[in-house]
């Protein structure tokens, strides 16, 4: 068997790949980070909010250099019906100061910046290079990758697959037992340009402060959710759609985004904005239900490639889970190479780190949430029911006296066709997930 060209190959310079490469290269390993795009981040999209707390140890004071658009100081959750909107709005000035909480950032900027740290740590970043397959030894262990370049084989002691959702490498290695379209959602997004002052005024923020709005009930018959985030002088507005429902409804995703933009609660916010970009991407939505085996001899899987994105209603966090899992994969590889053992046992430190940290703890805690949030009742019955309750609570119907909340709730529940039993069950599931 030929000798390895390098210690570690990391496939994919997204947040997971770059963090894995930073950790491994800083430990003195010879690392190659392969990226199919012309530069790291060039192919990547997401909604727009990143929660970088996990970088505190990797890049201390990251906020002084990270390419952020705005610091998220307002978080809103909106329930929409065709004519109503109920919003829970939270804002915190503390989130607008170091050490901050979340930020809006463009992926081509964010990923490029992180990959710069990998390069500074000594990793070799090779772009325009697509990995097309794995090289395995006769025993089945991964010993390298095939790329689409001439003389494109590269051998390594360990491969870290960070090639994103629908990972061909994890599938080729047989790490996914089965894949199912119902485990994925399609995210589509429009980036709209608006002058900064107009955004500041419409969203009631100043300086670099920004807003994250998650929206439920805005996707018509297709189960999903929406979002609206503020960049410095752009808005990101989009929807996340359950794939089988989208296919069954024969709807175009851009129609659904257009519908969201026309909603009376959203239209004034996006009015006059110029469309700059339209993008779409899959999201591994099913959490624990779909996760693959994380390691095999010679290979680990991190980030979306390992379905580690947390998509649970009011939380759509993938980048922080990707960065963390990339870091833990990097640490486990360092440990394994020190022990000269890249077997599944040698790489077991990765699974242990995932299990002991927020990565799998949050997934375990919220494992019922994705299904609940995307269920027909939450999607199609509850928004109308809750909005009607609010409307009746706030409506002044003199000379009639104010009705009691319990009565309104009961009447609206019946009107919406929701059985008490289902409401209680969903409430309990929600409480156990989010409580």
């Amino acid at each position: 068997m030929s000798t390895p060209d390098v210690d570690v190959i990391v496939v994919g310079a997204g947040p997971a790949g770059s963090c894995a490469a930073i950790v491994a290269a800083r430990a003195g390993l010879d690392v190659v980070l392969l990226e199919r795009g012309p530069f790291p981040g060039s192919k990547n999209m997401y909604g727009g909010v990143v929660y970088p707390r996990i970088l505190d140890t990797l890049i201390p004071n990251w906020w002084e250099e990270a390419p952020i658009q705005r610091w998220v100081t307002r978080r809103s959750t909106m329930l929409l019906t065709d004519t109503q909107a109920l919003t829970i709005d939270f804002r915190s000035e503390a989130w607008g100061e170091p050490p901050y909480n979340g930020a809006t950032a463009f992926r081509p900027d964010w990923d490029h910046w992180l990959a710069g740290h990998a390069e500074a740590a000594g990793a070799q970043v090779l772009t325009d290079t697509t990995v097309v397959g794995l090289i395995r030894d006769p025993g089945g262990a991964v010993v390298g990758v095939r790329t689409d370049r001439p003389d494109g084989d590269l051998r390594a002691k360990v491969v870290i697959a960070c090639d994103g959702v629908n990972s061909f490498l994890a599938k080729e290695a047989g790490l996914y037992e089965h894949t199912d379209a119902k485990h994925y959602t399609l995210g589509v997004k429009e980036t709209l340009a608006l002058p900064k002052e107009v955004i500041d005024e419409r969203f009631a923020v100043r300086d670099r402060h920004g807003v994250d709005i998650e929206i439920l009930g805005c996707t018509g018959n297709v189960n999903g959710g929406g979002f609206l985030y503020t960049g410095l002088d752009t808005l990101a507005v989009g929807v996340v759609l359950k794939l089988p429902k989208l296919a069954a409804q024969k709807k175009r995703p851009e129609e659904i985004v257009a519908g969201l933009k026309q909603h009376p609660a959203i239209a004034p916010l996006v009015q006059g904005a110029e469309l700059k970009e339209y993008s779409a991407h899959l999201i591994p939505e099913a959490g624990l239900t779909m996760m693959p085996k994380m390691t095999m001899p010679g290979m680990l899987v991190a980030g979306d490639a390992a379905a580690l994105c947390l998509a649970a209603g009011i939380w759509l966090e993938g980048v922080n889970f990707a960065m963390a899992s990339g870091m833990y994969a990097g640490e486990a590889v360092v440990e394994a190479l020190q022990a000269n053992d890249t077997s599944a046992t040698g790489l077991a430190g990765y699974q242990r780190r995932l299990s002991d940290t927020f990565v799998l703890k949050d997934h375990r805690k919220l494992h019922r949430a994705p299904e609940l949030v995307l269920s027909d009742r939450v999607q199609h019955l509850y928004p109308g029911m809750v909005a009607n309750v609010a409307e009746r609570m706030f409506r002044v119907d003199n000379p009639h006296p104010k009705p009691g909340l319990r009565r309104i709730l009961n009447e609206e529940r019946k009107k919406a066709g929701v059985r008490r039993r289902d409401l209680l069950r969903d409430g309990w599931t929600g409480f156990r997930s989010f409580g």
């Binding site: 012309p38 081509p108 090779l126 290079t129 370049r149 001439p150 003389d151 494109g152």
Partner: protein, 264 residues
């Protein structure tokens, strides 16, 4: 040093201020590909040269990854005038037999560097070439002339050939070459003569808005002809003037302004 490819690090027209999109133009890529093919044919190494700031190392490394053997960067800002760029290059490649260039750069578009290099080297020049056949000691080149005509040239060394972007497709660098190019040495040299800022800039042709009367004509086709000026187009531009060099230059600048290539 016998075969040289001159390449320029240019910004992407759609993202002029973002270095991440900057690289080699299609025309320079074609030039590099011919240089590499000629190197293989003649069994000679290929030197790649650029004039620019440190960021320009990227295009040199790309060229090394594709098979160039030596890379030289002459330190200068991106705003360097074409005449100075040509002088700086010519000073460093005095013994070159074949010099391959793109026909013009994406950002500046004047196409002046290749003929200036040829003038400095006292070499033959074949400019704006649309097809190339490499034949050992000679090169057959096809040039585009006005009115759809073609000119076939037999070029011998020493020569400067500038090619259009679609003439060749640059080979894809092998993985191992890509890896070693990242660590290869780039010879950074100062310019031998002062480098000035380009003062005369042209931009893509944008005709001025003008008022058009409703077209006259019997049939829709006649009206369309009048509207599109189809028949008159070639006659409108042609003009031969006999003037002293300075006056001729002034006349050209005037015409460029008149035709909408320059604002002032």
């Amino acid at each position: 040093m016998s075969i040289v490819a001159c390449v320029k690090w240019v910004s992407h027209p759609g993202e002029p201020h973002d270095e991440r999109f900057a690289g080699m133009s299609m025309a320079d890529q074609s030039a590099l590909e011919f240089a590499l093919q000629q190197g293989e044919l003649l069994g000679q190494p290929v030197t790649v040269i650029t004039v620019g700031p440190a960021g320009a190392d990227k295009v040199l490394r790309d060229a090394l990854a594709c098979g160039a053997t030596r890379a030289i960067r002459i330190e200068a800002p991106t705003t360097a005038a074409g005449t100075d760029v040509a002088t700086a290059i010519a000073d460093h490649i005095a013994d070159a037999e074949w010099v391959w260039c793109g026909d013009y750069s994406l950002d500046r578009g004047a196409g002046s560097v290749p003929p200036f290099i040829a003038a400095h080297l006292g070499a033959e020049q074949a400019l704006g070439v649309i097809a190339v056949t490499l034949l050992g000691a000679t090169v057959h080149a096809t040039r585009r002339l006005d009115g759809g005509r073609r000119e076939l040239l037999e070029v011998t060394a020493p020569a400067v050939v500038s090619v259009e972007g679609a003439t060749a497709r640059l080979r894809r660098a092998g993985l191992q070459h890509l890896r070693s190019a990242a660590a290869a040495t780039i010879e950074v040299m100062p310019a031998t003569t002062p480098i000035h800022r380009a003062e005369f800039m042209v931009r893509p042709y944008r005709p001025r808005a003008r008022e058009l009367p409703a077209p006259t004509g019997e049939s829709p086709l006649d009206r369309l002809r009048v509207l599109t000026d189809a028949a008159a187009a070639s006659a409108a531009r042609g003009e031969t003037v006999h003037l002293a060099p300075a006056d001729a230059a002034a006349r050209i600048v005037h015409a460029l302004r008149d035709w909408g290539y320059r604002d002032s």
